[in-house]
Symmetry: C2
Subunit: 163 residues, 2 copies
Amino acid sequence: MNSDTRWLNDHEQEVWRAFRELLWGFESAMDRQLLRDSDLSGVEYSVLASLSEADDGVMRARDIAQQLDWERSRLSHLLKRMEARGLVERVTCATDARGFNISMTSAGWNAIRQAAPGHVTFVRENVFDPLSDAEREALLSATTKMQQSIRDAGLWGNTKKSS
Amino acid sequence: MNSDTRWLNDHEQEVWRAFRELLWGFESAMDRQLLRDSDLSGVEYSVLASLSEADDGVMRARDIAQQLDWERSRLSHLLKRMEARGLVERVTCATDARGFNISMTSAGWNAIRQAAPGHVTFVRENVFDPLSDAEREALLSATTKMQQSIRDAGLWGNTKKSS
DNA sequence: ATCGTTTTGTTGACACGTCAATCATGCAAC
DNA sequence: GTTGCATGATTGACGTGTCAACAAAACGAT
């Protein structure tokens, strides 16, 4: 139907293919490394990392979800599993009876402290070390522009559309 | 413990943060667009796209899995759902009694033909249009290098390690 | 021919994500 | 203060992914 679609030429297909492969492969490799070295999944690491940046390892669930740009239910499901694993605890919130404070247990602290070096090393060895300075800067500007473009198209993240 | 970890400085954190955000956000936006415009999930689109490149829309399941670098079980689960939706059919293979030929139904053809223009447009508008020529080339070399680095580390894809 | 191994594919258990529905609480308007 | 709406969080259904176990056919060596 849409006969004026601007299809990709050969070179564009090559770029797109490489990018798309990396898109799925990078996260999956990162998760694999994390799981292998520290018995944490990628999403568990994200939550623990957020918590560890708070003063005492305690945050409102709402704030975690906002910081990670996650849906509430996604976080809720995950926290249930993490609580069962003993990594975090739900504590009722004194100032808002609806809310919960999520608090890292000592097992949670141990897990994130053990996992962080390997994770950072993964990023350094597979992102920064292989790239030249120019490539690193181009990567930053390219990712920023793509993200902005998707935002402009109203397709980014979990933010609800304007009616 | 690993006290010689080379942590990220501020600028590196900024690059890493932008890249990581794009990593999860891009795929999710793409899937959202696809689902909205054509009632196909991203993975369903991948399978149908592979099939549509075969002469008659028929491929061995094994070859689809290999082309997409997927685990067999992942494909098997998905094909079961896609067959239930009427997008593909499993046909017993004449030359190998273990295997199955996966064949697109006419509904499958219709779905992929309807979805393709919007998908290509998404890629063009959010990858190629926002990027300069230099950025496009840098993106290609950067993604290629990251992927190669991960491969060298033995963390890429579903290929089993060498015992 | 038969034995052991590889290949092909399925299944079940479980981790994970989205969506829609639900529920209680806070809050603002009146 | 009650009515109405927004907010914070949970739940259940279902699509999706991984992993390990399984079964059956193919294959290669003897």
